[in-house]
């Protein structure tokens, strides 16, 4: 078995210290997973209109060659706003080969879906919640074992923080898919 540590005159089991450290690592891991996925989700959404400037006031895009893409379709069911440039301009453009693989004019598909509403978002969120759940289980299991032993208070804090983090994470998630989208109706909000 592992030895004990002396901290400020108190003898604390090294196993307990390792459990608390592991719980903290799990908190960080769960948070990092969701934060990375969320960041990448936004980055990938921006891929759709890389190089195109969005004018929130007039709700339109401007392409690198100066042509304007205006709102063509707002598809509520698929949560998409589609912007389109005039076909004639695109067909005459020197960048056409790199920009639009057809003759109908360049389109930009602007997703209105929030991270929570996508399957990929739900995947990362549930894994993140699982990680926080493991942290809670370790803190809870440790608390039972060290309840009346020196250092048990550390596990009580870890247990409490794990519950709060889980609650905060669950609270942030919209109960019904679509809630978030209705709250952010226009692309300019993100």
């Amino acid at each position: 078995m592992l030895p004990s540590l002396n901290v400020w005159g108190l003898s604390i089991d090294l196993t307990l210290v390792l459990i608390v450290s592991y719980v903290v690592v799990l908190w960080a891991g769960g948070w990092a997973l969701e934060a990375l996925a969320r960041t990448h989700f936004r980055r990938a959404q921006r891929h759709a209109h890389d190089g195109f400037a969005y004018d929130a006031e007039l709700d339109r895009y401007e392409c690198p060659q100066g042509e304007l893409l205006t709102l063509d379709t707002h598809d509520d069911r698929d949560k998409l706003a589609i912007y389109k440039a005039p076909a004639a301009s695109c067909n005459a453009c020197v960048l056409k080969a790199f920009c639009a693989p057809h003759d109908e004019g360049r389109r930009i598909y602007h997703s209105l879906a929030e991270f929570h509403e996508t399957d990929v978002g739900r995947f990362h969120r549930r894994l993140s919640l699982t990680i926080l759940g493991v942290a809670l289980a370790f803190a809870g299991g440790g608390l039972v074992a060290w309840w009346s032993r020196p250092g048990g208070w550390l596990l009580a804090i870890a247990f409490g923080v794990s519950i709060v983090l889980l609650w905060l994470d669950l609270r942030d998630a919209p109960r019904n898919p679509g809630e978030a989208t209705r709250a952010s109706e226009t692309p300019s909000q993100w």
């Binding site: 707002h74 990929v120 894994l127």
Partner: protein, 760 residues
């Protein structure tokens, strides 16, 4: 060619470079691996055992499944001890006691053991009286623990190996490995195993080479990631999973896609995949249960019939079989979609392959049972029973049959693709698909260079060509190929972009992955140059993994945009989500957990601990397992009648397997592995490998929730695939040309959005 021919030339050049370095290391390993003496004698010249007896001992060790109980040089299974480290520790203790037990005695032990008394001219190795005496004592210890234990325990049955001559040969083999671990290489200050295992009593500690190459490989990693991510940022538009403009597509409903006769047979393949997956999980549960109850299963004397080494072998073999079956089936399923037609006779060949697979799977599992229980004649054990090398456990005969089966699969794929191949440049996607299919039997066949009587370092080297090159490189390439093809067929990316991405993968894997094979061989008796090459290039393996993770997240968004709001009309929601999980586990399992144990300074203490198991579960199940399930779900969606398809069953399976795997990893393998690594550093490697985990029964039991959730996830797939196999969809009719092919060999149609008046 669809893409510039420079891609092809670059891929060929890096491929040739990687294999040139690997060939060089193959030559070196034959020249410089630890010698096996013709005879080992005592100081009076009396022969203790011969080379032939050591080799026979190795063969017995393997064919009785002891590499699936404990480890040699850190390679094998984790319930039993590391035989090399355990022998060395006990030998040093015995000799120190014999020499008085004081510091002078310990110094004498170190000197005697480190001194290399092997004479290459006569082929004779001389042992001191202390070494001879230790051999007898340790042989008795192994007799009580393993060979002839009186009752079931440590996961093994009673009286496992009865012949005293056989047991002595096995101990001779273990003693030889311990000698290679401590005797210094001529003219050098470290042993044949680069001073592995760490053992203070014999003066084995980390070598300067291990530290230097660990540091250099870190530099290579950080520099490489910086350069590659910089280039990626500059050129990602050319190779990433995205197009100049995203197009909206509508998928042809699965019920409207015609099936060829051979494709219909595949419903039985996927039933086999699901059944093998479930069986593999159940056997895995029994295997891990031995960590908390070494003598049985909730009071039942399980080792009598299914000892740990057998359940562990089946667990590993079934993992390979279920994944391989899914890959073979997906290849056959995609071929007519690529070529647009199916030649006559494909159905018969596909059925024949299924029968051959069943024979190999159940024949080899049966052979392993007979071999481990000593029920086969000595001469037949390695041929019909088990060869016993971890991952190449199956008997030689079954290995031949498996290779024949894979060649038959290749023939099916070639026949299926032939109509399209004639019209395509040899650097285009259909040809790349064929090439990558060709590598699967070819690199598995390399395993034939290993046999039960190969000197361990050489056998292990070729074994890792299969474990690393076949599994980690060529299956990874085939994975990318299948995903890319599916995405092309689904209209998510164009063929040109998919082809570039595949070439990009080949370049990245050939640079790091091929030579990275050597990171498995740091300490198994090969020359030190293997450690330097392995450390340097395997660190570089993390670079493509990092990049592929960035790419994976981008590619997830492709499927994702089909899933928002129109889940009911997107038929591959769960297949794409299984692919999403492949990207995630590739990053965590292969990237993070793989790199964690990769550096020589870490591997020196870590090899053969639960951190290896942590990596293998997260990477193998997370990447290949999840991909196999993605392929199963994707293909079964077309094979099922609409009324038999159940989104609910697949949804449950998806969440249960992913959450179960996460619980398994973070609730058990990772924390216990870290504790075990700490113990190896603090108390010695032998200590960390001697049923040490029994100190933490609560953490061993913590495995159970994850395992149960994971197992629950495999059962619905059996039910679903059984229904589909019994009632495979039959229409629309397609004798040899599918309606899909007529529609352009794709599974989608492009949609031009209807202009709307404004916002709704």
């Amino acid at each position: 060619m669809t893409v510039s021919s420079l891609w092809l030339q670059g891929a060929v050049l890096t491929f040739v470079f990687g294999f040139a370095v690997l060939t060089f290391s193959a030559v070196r390993i034959y020249q410089d691996s630890a010698p096996m003496p013709d005879q080992v004698v005592d100081e009076a010249g009396k022969v203790l055992f011969t080379r032939e007896q050591i080799l026979e001992g190795q063969e017995l060790f393997l064919t009785y499944g002891l590499m699936q109980f404990g480890t040699v040089y850190g390679h094998g299974a984790y319930l039993g001890p590391d035989f090399t480290a355990d022998y060395l520790h006990r030998e040093a203790l015995h000799m120190a006691g014999r020499y008085g037990g004081d510091e002078a005695g310990r110094q004498r032990v170190r000197k005697e053991l480190q001194e290399n008394r092997y004479d290459p001219k006569t082929g004779t190795l001389v042992w001191t009286a202390g070494q001879v005496s230790a051999f007898g004592e340790i042989h008795e210890h192994f007799g009580e623990l393993v060979y002839g234990r009186k009752v079931s325990g440590v996961g093994l049955k009673a009286s496992m190996i009865r012949d005293p001559e056989d047991t002595r040969k096995i101990t001779a083999f273990i003693a030889w490995t311990a000698w290679t671990a401590v005797a210094r290489r001529p003219g050098l200050a470290y042993s044949y195993t680069n001073n592995w295992p760490p053992e203070e009593l014999v003066g084995n500690s980390l070598t300067g080479d291990a530290v230097m190459w660990s540091a250099l490989s870190l530099v290579a990693l950080l520099g490489g990631i910086g350069i590659v991510l910089g280039l990626y940022g500059r050129y990602s538009h050319a190779v990433g999973w995205h197009e100049s403009e995203e197009q909206r597509i509508r998928f042809i409903p699965p019920a409207d896609v015609a099936l060829t006769p051979a494709q219909r047979v595949l419903s039985w393949y996927f039933l086999v995949v699901a059944a093998l997956f479930l069986l593999q999980n159940l056997i895995g549960g029994a295997t891990v249960h031995y960590m908390v109850e070494a003598s049985g299963f909730f009071g039942i004397d399980l080792p009598r019939w299914l000892p740990y080494n057998l359940t562990r072998t089946w667990h590993v073999q079934l993992a390979i079989f279920f994944v391989a079956t899914a890959y073979l089936a997906a290849g056959i399923f995609l071929a007519p979609l690529i070529s647009g037609r199916e030649p006559k006779g494909q159905r018969l060949l596909t059925t024949a392959l299924l029968v051959a697979l069943a024979v190999v799977v159940f024949g080899s599992l049966g052979g392993e049972y007979l071999s481990y229980h000593g029920l086969l004649p000595r001469g037949q054990r390695a041929f019909l029973g088990a060869q016993g090398w971890e991952y190449l456990d199956l008997g030689r005969f079954w290995m031949y049959l498996l290779i024949v089966g894979m060649v038959l699969w290749l023939v099916i794929i070639y026949r299926g693709l032939r109509p399209r191949l004639g019209t395509e440049s040899r650097g285009n996607l259909p040809w790349l698909f064929l090439y990558s299919a060709l590598t699967i039997p070819a690199f598995y066949a390399v395993g034939l260079l290993t046999n039960t009587r190969s000197t361990f370092a050489i056998g292990d080297f070729w074994r890792f060509w299969v474990v690393h090159l076949w599994v980690e490189d060529f299956l990874e390439l085939f994975t990318t190929m299948l995903v890319a093809l599916i995405f092309v067929l689904m209209g998510i990316v164009s063929e040109r972009f998919a082809t570039r991405l595949i070439y990009f993968d080949i370049l990245l894997y050939s640079v790091g992955g091929v030579v990275g094979t050597l990171h498995h061989c740091y300490f198994s008796g090969g020359p030190a140059v293997e450690m330097s090459l392995g450390a340097f290039f395997s660190a570089a393996e993390v670079i493509p993994l990092t990049l592929l993770t960035v790419e994976a997240w981008s590619f997830l968004q492709l499927g994702n945009r089909q899933q928002v709001g129109e889940a009911a009309t997107f038929p591959h929601r769960w297949a794409v989500l299984f692919l999403a999980s492949v990207g995630f586990w590739n990053f965590l399992g292969a990237g993070v957990f793989g790199f964690l144990i990769n550096l020589p300074v870490v591997s020196y203490y870590e090899i053969g601990t639960l951190l290896t198991s942590n990596h293998s579960h997260a990477a193998f199940m997370g990447v290949y397992g999840m991909l196999a399930l993605a392929l199963l779900v994707f293909c079964t969606r077309y094979l099922a009648r609409p009324e038999d398809w159940s989104e609910g069953l697949v949804r449950f399976s998806f969440w249960a397997t992913n959450i179960g795997l996460m619980l398994m990893i973070l609730g058990h393998l990772f924390p216990l592995g870290i504790l075990q690594l700490g113990d190896a550093v603090t108390n010695g490697y032998w200590h960390a490998r001697t049923e040490w985990f029994r100190n933490y029964p609560w953490l061993s039991w913590a495995r159970m929730p994850g395992d149960l959730v994971f197992m629950a996830g495999s059962a619905p797939l059996v039910w679903l695939t059984l229904k589909v196999a019994l009632r495979t969809r039959s229409g629309p009719a397609a004798a040899d040309r599918s309606a899909t092919a007529a529609a352009g060999a794709s599974l989608f149609t492009e949609v031009s959005p209807a202009p709307a008046a404004g916002r709704t």
